[in-house]
Symmetry: none
Subunit: 196 residues, 4 copies
Amino acid sequence: MSPRSKSQIEEMREKSIRKIYDASLELFASKGYEATSISQIAKKAEISKGLIYNYFDSKLDLLKGLMDSFSTVEAEMMTKVVDEDPRKFLENIFRVFFLELRERSGIWKMIASLSLQKDMYEFIHDMALEKLIVYYELLEQLLDQIGIENPKGEAKLLAAMFDGIGMHYIVISNEYPLDEVEDYLINKYCKHEKLD
Amino acid sequence: MSPRSKSQIEEMREKSIRKIYDASLELFASKGYEATSISQIAKKAEISKGLIYNYFDSKLDLLKGLMDSFSTVEAEMMTKVVDEDPRKFLENIFRVFFLELRERSGIWKMIASLSLQKDMYEFIHDMALEKLIVYYELLEQLLDQIGIENPKGEAKLLAAMFDGIGMHYIVISNEYPLDEVEDYLINKYCKHEKLD
Amino acid sequence: MSPRSKSQIEEMREKSIRKIYDASLELFASKGYEATSISQIAKKAEISKGLIYNYFDSKLDLLKGLMDSFSTVEAEMMTKVVDEDPRKFLENIFRVFFLELRERSGIWKMIASLSLQKDMYEFIHDMALEKLIVYYELLEQLLDQIGIENPKGEAKLLAAMFDGIGMHYIVISNEYPLDEVEDYLINKYCKHEKLD
Amino acid sequence: MSPRSKSQIEEMREKSIRKIYDASLELFASKGYEATSISQIAKKAEISKGLIYNYFDSKLDLLKGLMDSFSTVEAEMMTKVVDEDPRKFLENIFRVFFLELRERSGIWKMIASLSLQKDMYEFIHDMALEKLIVYYELLEQLLDQIGIENPKGEAKLLAAMFDGIGMHYIVISNEYPLDEVEDYLINKYCKHEKLD
DNA sequence: GATGAATGAGACTTCATTCAT
DNA sequence: CATGAATGAAGTCTCATTCAT
């Protein structure tokens, strides 16, 4: 009766979901969530519209799933970044941030775009808020360890700088001197004995 | 010959356009351009759907008009901010930025949101890009006059910080310590003899 | 109290109505009645939309008025065409028909187009039907006087030929050999002693 | 893998398209293309508005599809009409024309109506023009073989007569003596040794 | 008489979602 | 699991018509 083994079916599910996520991300990032239709996603993912509804209850549910899928990736990334030396730890954070921006700017762009519409997508807003708090605290702790004055205030500025750089990079794209800015920042915050 | 005087008609037109702009801004800012319908705008503006098309050729044309209406306001603002003392000039920029963020966060939010979708709304992207360049240059010049090392790099960081603070304020809203950040920044950049 | 004399007002009315008719005809003929908007008519006539409703109750009413305006012109024309000699009378009809087709093909086109939609514009259908009957009878009478066999049948064919030539001329326009066809027809029907 | 077989799907598609075509033709013919709404077509076809857009990109695209669907039918018909004897060939053309007019006057009416609006629907104009040329040439050739004087001129008149009869039949409908006219024409053009 | 701002019904079209197979 | 035909609500936009002046 069951021609496929459980694991085979599971594999198919994952493969389909992966295709859906990839297509969604690409489209949501470039056109925005609202302007992307389920048909477009299905076409790009090379599956049928109906199949999407096997895995997701609605378009919004797909967005939620997609966002969740980032969290797991992000959590993994965080573990790799930890270092005993706060300067090195901070440098790693910088490097990962710039790497992500370069290689997966779509994700960044999509999240940023949706975060700005807190009235519509409350769950996105909640996610963004939570993440922001975590970042503030992590940065504050590191800056404190490094010995920077007013680590709380500087953490907020540094976090803002990250997202601001992200925005400007999206707007200016290839013309933006991402490498230079990266080097400059790392030098400024992670190499000297004192920064402020 | 003409039943209403020219000035009467002009007054009516301006009043309607103002109502449309106000409603549009509010909705575009909170829900986004795509997710806002002409019907919603008409309802909020308390006019008929059709009237919007007396003044704008399309929804996109309305967006363009709305964006243009900001430019005039912004240009005015810029003239008031100039000062011979670069520190004072910079401080004025800070103060105006934070004031705007507090009082007209909708505009900032809408522009930021649209700027992130450069693939869809090229004219917005062009506007954002142009403004960004102007800001980079102005900040660089001021930081140079103040005597900061590497004014080019610092200008980019400072500009990024502005927009990053904007984003975080939108996300966190009332909980964000906008006043503190403002004071801290002004102190850091505009009060000391040397900053870096 | 009355700054304009009655005749002055009447003159203005006529002038406005004439402008409306001219603009309507041009637009109805080239785009069709349905595809022409009141705004377009007002713009082409260089008057306001509202003024049209001073003279006509509705768009359909304007069409009726326009059609009626043709009837008067046509009646005049008919009187000039009469001749004691049936061959000459027929030749005059031919000549007027071709002249009209050449110089006012818009009218012909519009009437033909609307006549085909009897389900929608019953009054047009009634007009067309009535005129057709009159033509059949007139032609039959003339052909009979000229001595043609089966004048009833030939009258129908001749009338059909007229309208068919009109259609083909509209479709082919400048490439259609209207002059040749005119000469050929007149020669065939009006010059020989016997035709059939 | 595929839940419905390919042929099943194809069958569904054809059935829906047929329903759409049938409803469209009926409405376009009686009210005209412009005055017919997609909603009306959907209602008459007993399907949803949306389904029409599964098969056609736009209302104009539907019209094009409908017109194309005639061409295939017409081409088939032409093959059945050919005969070695030019008189018989011509008679067949007459008979088919009158048969079509009687049984599918809607098609004739729709094409005629649209052909008159060459400014709006260029593709229709092109179709009509092309067909007209073909008819002129075919008739000329046949009339020449039959031995009629001035076959070029007579072909034009005959073709015009066809379309004129069509118009008059549409206008007068049941009162029009289509049978008599058919017999009379066939007798006149196809039975005698000489006609002119 | 004349204007044009304003309305609202309805046009075309898109799209998330359902469902038979 | 997978498909895509089908639906219907809602979107953008048009337009005949009204009315205050």
